[in-house]
Amino acid sequence: MALDSAPVLEAKNISVEFGGLKAVEDVSFDIPDRSVVSLIGPNGAGKTTFFNVLTGLYKPTSGFVIYNGEDITGVVPHKIAEKGVARTFQNIRLFGLMTAEENVMVAMHSHLKAGIIGTIIGSPLQRREEREAREEARALLTFVGIGKTAMEFARNLSYGDQRRLEVARALALRPKVLLLDEPTAGMNPQESAVFVDFVHKVRDEKNLAILLIEHDMSVVMKVSERITVLDRGMKIAEGSPADIKSNPRVIEAYLGKSAEVNK
């Protein structure tokens, strides 16, 4: 278990208000290095808002985000991404009219150095960089299992492949933390089961920590080392999957309700 390692990303007393509406209220949370942790909660619990705070899209009303010991609260999104916090989106947000390979290469933007002049004249440095970036992109696509689709437009890929492409694109940032926002949404049970192994493979081979927002309880229970439960913007429980399963507050707030909905 990687839970006892030092936190790579920490959120301290985060609150987010939208004109008086408290979307997230005083939530503290940390992601230990090389762990797989999950954030669950009923719809509207503030999970995605919390995600958006971690990636710099929203500035928290109060509280801090610490990444690798550095305060990154309110830092612009592309800087946070560059530092190594990558994410995928609940509603897939690929660059539809670019090839899978190009999608991955966009995320390498901050690692590449070629400037305008170097690109126009095609300097040896720029060419080597492009070639290496392309190779890395291909390798990432193969890693997530869609190596054959490199030259296809992202919008033409199947739904599952698009999800995988989003992961490949996020990995191109060479992140230390990968945030997955409902990655199994729209997947069938078999695909979800494969996904659990995939998450562990990503964590082990890319040496990063993973935070998931997930609705599918079977996935959450199998994949997570620790689960945090949000309800109405507040953290109501945190612990191992077994603890969460038997926690009465969670059952009341989430699981019971969810079971009804699923019928």
Partner: protein, 401 residues
Amino acid sequence: MSIITRKKGASKKKAPASQRTWSIGFLTLAVAVYIFYTYIVPHTPDGFQNQIQTWFPPSALNEALVWVIAALGLNIVVGYAGLLDLGFVAFWAIGGYTAGWFMSGFFYQINLHFGSESAKSFPGIHLSFWIVLLLGALICAFFGILIGAPTLRLKSDYLAIVTLGFGEIIPQVFVNGENIHGFNLSNGTKGISPVDNIGLFGKRLGPFDLNYKYMIFVFMAGLMVFISLRLRSGRLGRAWLAIREDELAASMMGVPLMKTKLSAYAVGAISGGLAGVAYATHVNGIFAERFQFSISIILLAMVVLGGMGNVWGVMVGALLIAWVNSTGLPALGNEINSTFNTNINFPSYTFLIFGGLLILMMLFRREGILPESRLKMVLHENDDDVENEAPHRNISEEEAL
């Protein structure tokens, strides 16, 4: 569905080769046109020469090439980065005045000659055309960044409106720039004329050396194509397209939005500046009142009509519209008037015709004459692969729950 995707994947793989084919085609055609005008036309019967002068005069060709240069720049801003710019005429004007300042007797107090073929006794600043091109590019890049920095934070429609404002302000500054606290910036409505002839290998290109200017303008247009294609395939081009596709996702993938948009704006401004300098040498002067809003709109029409994002489409669109604007319509008008013995002023209907043409294009061929392959796919996907999209829609509905 797999058949459809495989087909599209295959056509994508061929793309680099087709760019090469297009480049070779462009060069071959440019040389053929040059040979035609320089060596063949003078030996043809007078009647044919008159027809050429009426329908395809070499000066109109040169002017069309100037439009091509500017349109290729606008294509980077609008076609690649997806930023709607309605004030591109500003850069054309700034480039033009750069030529006016550094290639004429306008600043008669100063006597500076460098690399210019004009007589040393002429007062004013006379720099080589090539240096002025560079200056025009630099000054326009500077103004591009200056204008872009506050405006590019705005989204789509608002950006269009603000650029529209700048496109009005800058020509107005030149119209009223005759006396800025005693300093004459632009000679007001009188304009700056004449502008020096271009010097090429020790030769001065007079107003009738159209064939040499043609070569220079073809070279400049070719350069813009080269720059566009190189940038498009590199790191910056990918970032531009990513911003066009999904700004938020791009920023989440480490693409700095402001910097990337500014670079698109600056590169576009540079080509606007080059076109401005070229235009000044083409008409041998700068006249403030020519820099009207309509230039921005015509340029935009060239990009949209030709095929947004595809340099070759934009080139075809620019040549076509520039020709209709300068020659085709007046010539056709004269022909009709003399045949039917009518007296209709055809050039005054230019915008009616352009407007109508754009409406027809939007109705029947939205992607332009020679579209970028990816754009064509979106606009026609409902025609043939509706079943391809359907599953996505269902899933996104599930997701919304």
